[in-house]
């Protein structure tokens, strides 16, 4: 076996080619890394701009009154925590009452949404019945209807029932699956569950209700969780319905109470107003922090708001 000159040349050429390829790869990697770093810098700048208003709100809630406007710094020269304690009692009724009211409305609404929407979604996704596609199309159409269109007749209806100034107009519709978004979200999820489960359970003599309760619900906890978090946040922030149905300040929810601060604007209570604004956002931020994954997946799969 002898090594010819051409073989040697070939080997050298191949080595050279490998070297060039390696260099190219290095160059590409370097370019990609630089690109990544640039991207990170850009994204961090955007993040700061996005978050600045929120930090400004937080900072202003702690600043002395004369520092709120006229300075961009977020760090207060002295911390005025009393904005929070004073703000809590700044309105004729303390915020304890508003928070309890909001909590009652929110909890009842979330329960109502979960029960009624999962019922409807189970029927649409898992049961065969006459008129299914017709009703499903109707349900999808209601998603489009602006709340303002049904508002006036609903108001007249609830007024005649004597429900104005109670929480019933806010809560009862949720027990009647008024928010089709959640039905849609759950239908999407229920459909993915294997059909064989229902069939096997049916053969074992399970009733549809048993299947819903013992099979579908336990397997659908992520979807139920997503729906619960979204409805919690939306009901908590809801403004229009409480604005219309609640007239007595004792029954106000937190957003209505915050609006009262605006009427007192100019009485130099900005710090207190911001403090109460911050507090009203805290539950939302906490729930977002805890259930971020569920929220993100929920939007990506259903395309909600």
């Amino acid at each position: 076996m002898k090594t010819s000159a051409t073989d040697l040349e070939l080997a050298i050429q191949m080595d050279e080619a490998a070297r060039v390829a390696h260099e190219l790869r290095l160059k590409r990697d370097r370019r990609e890394r630089n690109g990544r770093i640039l991207k990170h810098i850009f994204l961090i700048v955007v993040s700061c701009v996005m978050l600045y208003p929120l930090f400004w709100l937080l900072a202003s809630s702690l600043k002395p009154e004369n520092e709120i406007f006229g300075s961009l710094t977020l760090w207060p020269s002295e911390f005025h925590f009393e904005n929070y304690t004073k703000g809590w009692y700044a309105l004729p009724i303390s915020f304890t009452v508003f928070y309890v009211n909001s909590a009652i409305v929110t909890i009842l609404s979330v329960i109502g949404n979960l029960i009624s929407c999962s019922f409807a979604a189970y029927a649409f996704a898992r049961l065969n019945f006459t008129g299914r596609s017709f009703f499903f199309a109707l349900m999808m159409m209601t998603l489009m209807i602006p709340y303002h269109v049904v508002l006036i007749p609903q108001y007249v209806q609830f007024l005649n029932l004597g429900w104005v100034d109670t929480y019933l107009p806010l809560v009862v519709p949720r027990f009647l699956a008024s928010d089709g978004f959640f039905i849609f979200l759950m239908v999407q999820f229920f459909r993915q569950l294997p059909r064989e489960l229902d069939e096997a359970a049916m053969i074992d003599g399970c009733s549809p209700f048993k299947i819903y309760w013992a099979i579908i619900l336990p397997l659908s906890l992520p979807a139920m969780g997503t729906a619960a978090i979204f409805s919690l946040i939306w009901v908590w922030e809801d403004f229009l319905a409480p604005l219309i149905y609640l007239n007595d300040i004792k029954s106000y929810t937190v957003p209505l109470a915050l609006r009262l601060f605006l009427d007192q604007e100019g009485q130099s209570a900005y710090g207190q107003m911001f403090a109460m604004s911050v507090l009203s956002l805290v539950p939302v931020v906490i729930f977002f922090g805890l259930f971020q994954k569920l929220i993100v997946r929920g939007i990506a799969t259903s395309g909600m708001k």
């Binding site: 991207k39 990170h40 994204l43 955007v46 993040s47 996005m50 978050l51 208003p53 929120l54 400004w56 202003s60 709120i68 406007f69 300075s71 961009l72 029960i115 009624s116 929407c117 019922f119 409807a120 049961l127 019945f129 349900m139 209601t142 209807i145 602006p146 303002h148 269109v149 049904v150 508002l151 006036i152 007749p153 609903q154 108001y155 007249v156 209806q157 027990f175 009647l176 699956a177 008024s178 039905i183 209700f209 922030e237 403004f239 229009l240 219309i244 957003p255 915050l258 900005y270 911001f274 604004s277 009203s280 956002l281 977002f288 971020q292 993100v296 939007i299 990506a300 395309g303 708001k305």
Partner: protein
Amino acid sequence: MRRFFARNAPAYVFLLPWLIGFFLLALGPILASLYLSFTRYDMVSAPRWIGWGNYEYMFTRDRRFWKALEVTFSYVALAVPARLIMALGVAMLLDKGLRTIGVYRAIFYLPSLLGASIAIAILWRQLFAADGVVNQVLAMVGIQGASWITDPDTSLYTLVVLAMWQFGSPMLIFLAGLRGIPRDLYEAAEIDGTPRWRQFTRITLPLLAPVIFFNLVLQTIESFKTFSSAFIISNGTGAPADSLLFYTVYLFNEAFKFFRMGYASALAWFLLVIIAAFTAIAFFTSKYWVHYENERD
């Protein structure tokens, strides 16, 4: 007959809450508001039939109605594209080559969750006040900022910026859509030396068209319904000089401040027609500009 009943009964039991809700909270009220829109109704005396009177007044004599339409359409025309471009741009940045996108995703989504709240509307009023943060930043680069909220020429832009700030949910939907585009298409384009911009127009945009379409329809409908922030920032009236007279704010005031329930119902029905028309146009034209991946053309 009995078999028909036995087959359908369980499903309708499950459907019952929604069915009641549909008739009492959706269909009934929609028909009722159609009827009311042909009446004069102040909630004290019974509705009085006036035929097309409300609509005639609306289209021919009501200046504020036209103003409300102008404000709302301007808002939709500015806010929807602004929000979608932000969302798509950021989603594309997050999509490629970064491993730790979770934190950014959370930061960019947070404003969308908070944006509809009264607290943020209150905050926005102060950010764009004459001595607010925005003007201080502008002053640093030597620009004398306007009194954004109280100047009728600029007030609408504060709400457009608020809408842009909440680009989180379309961003998440775009991200999911971008994930669905096969990587090898970009690799092939890279090998062919296709410039980035052409990769964007020839690969990303066409394959993302269904998602863009979806976001566009959804965001347009959402933007027509904007209420809380406009209501708070305009002191509940549409001020200054009706420059923030969003359609929903006008409707609310006609109904619950002046108790012109008949006229407000006519306004409500026209809003429904606008939204239905937009949805229909989007769907019927979609076949010309949206290509779904499983289609062969």
